[in-house]
Amino acid sequence: MTEALTQPVTQPVTQPLLRVRDVRKEFPTHGREVVRAVDGVSLEVRKGETLGLVGETGCGKSTLARCIAHLYDVTSGSVEFDGTELTGLSRRAMRPLRREIQMIFQDPYGSLNPRRRVGSIIGDPFAIHGISAGAERKRKVQDLMEVVGLNPEHYNRFPAEFSGGQRQRIGVARALALRPKLVICDEPVSALDVSIQAQIINLLADLQKEFDLTYVFISHDLSVVRHVSDRIAVMYLGKLVEVAPTEELFQQTRHPYTRALLSALPVADPDTADSREQIILAGDIPSATNPPQGCRFHTRCPKARATCAAAEPGLDPVLDDGPAHRTACFFPLTIGEDLSTAVPDLKAS
């Protein structure tokens, strides 16, 4: 997992497995307005790495995941997977690519059909792509069950007969059946007990090594993402606000929003200089129907200035950061800067 970190980031050796460029996704509302769930996101994921995607609930993580997996048609922008442009592909053209991009869903109850047996749920990918049938399929499914730590003899059981953690293993087995290259894990442990979260995370880490997987790992919990990711992208209200290699994000936090998320982590980390400062963000998350002008975070940002409401900062390297660390902020934090005493001043000077 550290491989990606030690690579010279200025010169990506290979073409990225996934390249998302300026993707937007709007949903119509009942009125004439639209929800801008994802509003211009660009990111790249290299082969073999884990990109963590973190942000509060409702910021558009799942929508972005579904855009990448081509479950939604994007409103604009481009999703390029392994050199193939996915946007605009017909269902038929997309079918073979489905084998290479898989999703693990958040809800281990909702994502498994309650009326079907586990064997047939995990065997679905084989059935849909006409890969194997009968005894061969059964053997493959039971192998998969073993790989993810399920008892293969439970082949004929129904999802209701499993615990939440076991159900998530079923979801993992189904996602791995076709040996995908990219697995998008959309909050795979958020619905699970804390004691079980670690088991699933370790399983995913083992499988990554074993099957050479690339992950996009989504969570609203920065501590979970930190644990598994090589790089982390922080999302706020449909946009990325900071992207950096995991340790750099923690050591050299640039964006006030990232710092606020960090300060909310329960365990104080001695490595993080300001780990004990508590930053309580003012107000609620603004609506994605009508996001604030300028920097979207300016309504809650302790450092906000008049500029922030007037113009929108781009996602670029700031201060002395390298190209791998990009931040969308006019007044990025310096190392050691105390954000807890900052006061917003939005009056134009």
């Binding site: 309650p114 679905d124 059981r157």
Partner: protein, 307 residues
Amino acid sequence: MTASLEMLETSAPAIEGRSPFLLAFRRLRRDKVAMVSLVVIVLIVLMAVFAPLFATITGHPPNEQYRDIGLTPDGLPRGPNGTFWLGTDDLGRDVLVRIAYGARVSLLVGVAATAITVAVGIVLGLAAGFLGGVVDTILARLIDVVLSVPFLLVAIALVSVTGPSLSITVLVIGFFSWASVARIVRGQVLSLREREFVEAARSLGAGDTRIMFVDVLPNVLAPVIVYTTLLIPVVIVTQATLSFLGLGLPPPTADWGGMISASQNYYTTAWWFILFPGLALLITTLAFNLFGDGVRDAFDPRADRLR
């Protein structure tokens, strides 16, 4: 020690998964009323299947008119006696034999019309709910229209044009009943298609048809089965009603609605003529209804607790 051993035993894996249908079936088997109803239904089915046996045993073919021994000198039906166990009708025919043959019509129409209704209702309900868009708009309107059409009026008009027959009865009933099945299915599918497992199937590359029939259909089956068992008695009564109004089967075919209709003029003089066909209809619909209630409770144990 013994306690933990016991626990081990009871929690020993039932490797064969407990399907929701199997569980419902087990609950149904413990329901006494439903089981008695089922026995009655089986008896009625046997009566229909072996109707010719009634003719052989009594020696009276269903349409044979015994104007001499089957009617009083004034031409009135004869009451139950050693020859005609349940009496005779206005034309001197054996009521018992005709009830047995009438069961064939009732059950045939009940099953055939219900089968058409359910098949059409499921397919159109699935399509409307799952595909949405224009398909749904059109089908939803159609469902509303069919459900608001005055059924009997149209049935009367239609049959008076085509003339009464078994197939037209089945078609008329089927045509006017699919809409309620479609409505139930559509409602369920509308919420099911938002479920994550549908999205999971899509992300695996499944197409609409596969998702509709492999992923969604099994989830609407329970309410459809419940509705179906309760629909059969409704269809049987409807068929009897059509016959009663003279829109059933052309004479001399024996059917319960027709018999009740013919007995109207004799209810003061020949009680058996109206009582026995009426009882046959009542017992049949009651048995199906009680069985249907049992099926509903078996699929939805909560309904039991609420009562």
